[in-house]
């Protein structure tokens, strides 16, 4: 009896999972060609090397860490939003 209960519970769970699974339409010619263009325009790893630097959140935080760890402060000032290249 206990086994039947387990099977029934498992089956209900699996049916639930299958129902909840997201349905995706197959990629067609349009999707493939648009996705290819999207991919081509994305920032490259080389263009994102800026993200490999551990930037301090602000000047005061940078100065506090510099003092604590005996490091120099490299401060870059700029116009706009350098994070997104709209600058």
């Amino acid at each position: 009896m206990r086994n039947w209960v387990c099977i029934a519970v498992s089956s209900t769970f699996l049916i639930g999972c299958a129902t909840a699974a997201e349905v995706w339409l197959k990629d067609d010619k349009l999707v493939k060609s648009v996705e290819e263009q999207v991919h081509k325009l994305q920032p490259t790893r080389q263009e994102k090397r800026f993200d490999e630097i551990g930037w301090a959140p602000g000047i005061l935080a940078a100065e506090a860490l510099a003092k604590q760890q005996n490091r120099a402060v490299f401060l870059f000032t700029y116009d706009g939003k350098i994070d997104t290249g709209r600058c």
């Binding site: 997201e22 349905v23 995706w24 339409l25 067609d28 349009l30 999707v31 648009v34 996705e35 263009q37 999207v38 081509k40 325009l41 994305q42 920032p43 263009e47 994102k48 800026f50 993200d51 490999e52 630097i53 551990g54 930037w55 301090a56 959140p57 602000g58 000047i59 005061l60 935080a61 940078a62 100065e63 860490l65 510099a66 003092k67 760890q69 005996n70 490091r71 120099a72 402060v73 490299f74 401060l75 870059f76 000032t77 700029y78 116009d79 706009g80 939003k81 350098i82 994070d83 997104t84 290249g85 709209r86 600058c87």
Partner: protein, 269 residues
């Protein structure tokens, strides 16, 4: 300790704290007083005790050899020993906070020229609220070839950023759309899911420099698709790219993609 500081944030009405603004001013004044060179777009080097050491104007800072030479000389002079980053590196371009009902889109734009303003692509994060994103969907029953026009105020949320890298010193968008269209047509309908083909066109004025009334226009055609759950009125994914896009005389490209909640969570970690 590397740190960046946007000039707008330290202006009188800028978002930086009063203490941060005061420190930026102190650094500028100290460099100026000591004749070490100053500039709006500039590299300033400070010793661990906050004293001014030296710097580079943006012209020289763009030359890797000069930058490396200056950094190595500074490290030697200050007896700085190399080590692991004090702060864990993380992506700088991150999506803004948004609620679960909203949709977040990422836009990349790049002009075909090379040189200044073209070394890196531009990015934008665009958020449509729940009710706004619903306006991308059709209001009539969905069948194959059902076609609808996206409301102009929603299309504008995307289109206003369809321009290559220009001088952007403010977060305020200065684009002026003169003509736009964004039409969706259902091309696939299977298992309760629909795919709409997106076709659009745009003519927009966007001056290269803010505050200058020059005649620089974007002219573009757009192609894309949107997959959505018909019954639940839920958008699964949306992609758009420029087909033919010209800014002034320069061809450029824009890609717009919806970002899933899972990806957003991963980016925010």
């Amino acid at each position: 300790m590397p740190v960046t500081s946007s000039n707008e944030t330290v202006e009188a009405n800028g978002s930086a704290s009063p203490e941060e603004k005061a420190e930026r001013r102190r650094i500028y004044n100290d460099f100026y007083g000591k004749g070490l060179g100053v500039g709006d777009v500039h590299v300033y080097i400070l010793a661990p005790d906050r004293s001014s050491v030296g710097g580079l104007g943006i012209g020289n800072a763009l030359e890797a050899e000069k930058m490396i030479q200056m950094l190595e000389a500074t490290a030697q002079k200050l007896h700085i020993v190399g080590g692991a980053p004090a702060i864990k590196p993380r992506p700088r371009s991150v999506p803004p906070q948004s609620d679960a009902a909203s949709m977040v889109f990422h836009l990349t734009a790049r002009g075909n020229r090379t040189g200044s303003w073209r070394e890196f692509p531009s990015e934008n994060w665009i958020v449509l609220s729940g009710p706004e994103s619903k306006q991308l969907l059709p209001t009539s029953p969905v069948a194959l070839r059902t076609s609808w026009e996206v409301p102009a105020e929603i299309a504008k949320k995307f289109y206003q950023w369809f321009y290559p890298q220009t001088e952007d010193t403010s977060i305020v968008n200065r684009s002026r759309i003169e003509q736009e269209s964004m039409r969706m047509t259902v091309v696939t309908l299977e298992n309760g899911m629909a795919r709409a083909r997106i076709e659009g066109a745009l003519r927009m004025k966007h001056t290269f420099y803010p505050g200058r009334d020059t005649d620089e226009f974007v002219s573009a055609t757009v192609l894309g698709f949107m997959d959505f759950d018909v019954a639940q009125q839920r958008i699964q994914r949306l992609r758009m790219v420029t087909e033919k896009a010209i800014y002034g005389q320069e061809p450029f490209g824009v890609a717009l993609r919806s970002v899933s909640r899972e990806t957003l969570r991963a980016l925010m970690e």
